[in-house]
């Protein structure tokens, strides 16, 4: 199910593809900032929930894939939370755990910090996935172009973007060819085969790079890529909705600024 071009493939067919990329980026980045600066967990949690609804409900990203993606950062954050719970102090003790003659105490401050960390991570990751799953790279390139980022930077990003898929394609092709001829049938063989794959991939990457250069030269490359873009105006309702959403999030952050769970 999760294959080589998962994120980009999903983004290229998502339900919000037609929404202007600038709006989606603004909403995503704005929500990340609000979430990070919010002193209480309420606003980030609200952002996480609303972003999940947007991504699954409106952009029609399959919930299973979304959950699988979210599981990655969440598992990391749980590991850090355990450390934070016991390593930071302050406030009232909530729970004392004696381990090997020492007493580890879990205090209200550490619990609050852990909850805040969890909520910020969730809010941030949900917003980031919202951008990644609703805005294909191709659209992001044209936003970068509109923002007048240096051409060299954009051209390089575009070449890297294309070549990521070339390289993935090559490695899959080599891997398939090896599997078809029993390359991975025993442990020893799989080590040999993998070493060969890595070596070949390096050589192929090099060759592909040279061939790309030749192809670019053959078409008179002199340092210019064309950005194709229809001059699109963002609709007023779009701007209003995005602003409203961000204001609501910011409002939550301000209203509940001194709220804490414990």
């Amino acid at each position: 199910m999760i294959d080589e071009h998962l994120l980009d493939d999903l983004a290229l067919q998502n339900g919000l593809l037609e929404v202007d990329a600038r709006l989606k980026l603004a909403v995503g980045i704005g929500a990340i900032l609000i979430g990070v600066f919010s002193p209480s967990p309420i606003a980030p949690l609200a952002i996480a929930a609303s972003m999940a609804v947007l991504t699954i409900g409106f952009a029609r990203i399959p919930a299973r894939i979304y959950a699988a993606l979210l599981a990655i950062p969440v598992s990391f954050v749980f590991m850090s939370i355990i450390v934070i719970l016991f390593m930071t102090g302050g406030g009232e003790p909530l729970w004392d755990i004696p381990i090997l003659g020492h007493t580890f105490s879990l205090t209200t401050d550490s619990a609050n910090l852990a909850v805040l960390l969890l909520s910020r991570t969730l809010g941030g990751m949900c917003s980031l996935f919202f951008i990644a799953l609703t805005t294909p790279m191709v659209d992001i390139f044209s936003v970068m172009n509109r923002l007048r980022l240096p051409d060299e930077f954009i051209d390089l990003s575009m070449l890297i973007y294309r070549n990521i898929f070339v390289l993935i394609g090559e490695s899959i092709a080599i891997h398939n060819a090896q599997v078809m001829r029993n390359g991975y049938s025993t442990f020893r063989r799989s080590i040999d085969a993998f070493a060969m794959l890595a070596g070949m991939l390096f050589v192929r990457a090099w060759e592909k790079g040279e061939e790309m250069l030749v192809a670019m030269d053959a078409r008179c490359y002199d340092g210019k890529f064309q950005m194709i873009e229809e001059e699109r105006r963002i609709s007023a309702t779009g701007i209003a909705t995005a602003t409203g959403y961000l204001c609501a999030c910011a409002g939550l952050a301000v209203i509940f600024r001194s709220f804490s769970l414990f």
Partner: protein, 277 residues
């Protein structure tokens, strides 16, 4: 003065393999030339010399009578558009239309002209409905079409196609025959192509170069080349099926004019059968 001419062109690959050996090739203005030859005959190596991607080990490549130098290489590439054999390596932009726009943009054309040319080129190769696709979602034949469109959009004087029909579906092949002929007729574009599909040759070309072992073993028009069975079999090629069929009808004593293209064959057959019956 010929558009493209090679004089005693020899190319030795860095590994020591001789790719070309004393090749003399001439492409006059508005010609449609087929280069045929077995695998490893040197077709691709020759084509890469036409726009200065490869530099001769000895001998000369003249474009408009001028040798290719650092100073005129941009001009040469503007005049001579080469679509290489492997389409995969020729697409490097994030989307199909951006890729086709690459050449015209680098020629310094304004945005409107670029747009127009991109649409036109994509329409010719039948990819206009897939303009916003990303290249890694394309099939092999679709990539081939995009690669061809990328060169056509530059409107070169000479269109060089290395195995343009490899991987195309039958409709794609007849589309290709159609637009190559129309490019040649309406814009006076010179077309040079290589192919293993000998039946395609008479449909597009009027002149043929036969290569074998890095050399030109024969050249001439349809009747010159397709008259000599031994020549073709000696370089591992075969007659196209129409002249082959007519030959075997001759052996059965049926009187019919020689023809190479489908259209000519049709009238030859009609003449032969209506006339006799």
């Amino acid at each position: 003065m010929h558009l493209i001419e090679t004089r005693d062109l020899t190319y030795v690959y860095p590994g020591g393999v001789t790719g070309l050996h004393g090749v003399n090739f001439i492409a006059p203005r508005n010609a449609r030339i087929a280069v045929i030859g077995a695998n490893g005959a040197g077709k691709s190596t020759l084509f890469k010399h036409f726009n200065g991607i490869m530099k001769p080990t000895s001998g000369q490549v003249l474009v408009h009578g001028e040798p290719i130098t650092r100073a005129n290489i941009r001009e040469v590439r503007k005049m001579v558009g080469v679509v290489f054999q492997n389409a995969d390596d020729q697409i490097f932009s994030p989307t199909v239309e951006q890729d086709v726009a690459f050449g015209p943009t680098n020629l310094g054309l304004d945005e409107e002209t670029v747009q127009h040319r991109v649409q036109e080129a994509l329409r010719m190769v039948g990819m206009e409905d897939r303009a916003t696709r990303v290249p890694h979602h394309l099939s092999g034949g679709e990539k081939k079409r995009v690669a061809i469109a990328g060169i056509i959009a530059m409107e070169p004087q000479v269109l060089v196609l290395d195995e343009p029909t490899a991987g195309l579906d039958p409709q794609g092949v007849s589309d290709l025959v159609g637009f190559i002929n129309s490019l040649s007729r309406t814009y006076g574009m010179t077309v040079i192509f290589s192919t293993h599909d000998v039946s395609l040759v008479p449909e597009i070309a009027e002149y043929i170069y036969v290569m074998g072992g890095g050399k030109i073993v024969a050249h001439g028009n349809m009747s010159d080349i397709f008259e000599k069975d031994e020549l073709l079999t000696s370089v591992r090629l075969d007659l196209p099926c129409i002249p082959k069929l007519i030959r075997s009808l001759w052996e059965h004593g049926i009187e019919i004019d020689m023809a190479y293209t489908q259209k000519d064959a049709e009238s030859a057959f009609l003449r032969a059968f209506r006339g006799s019956g």
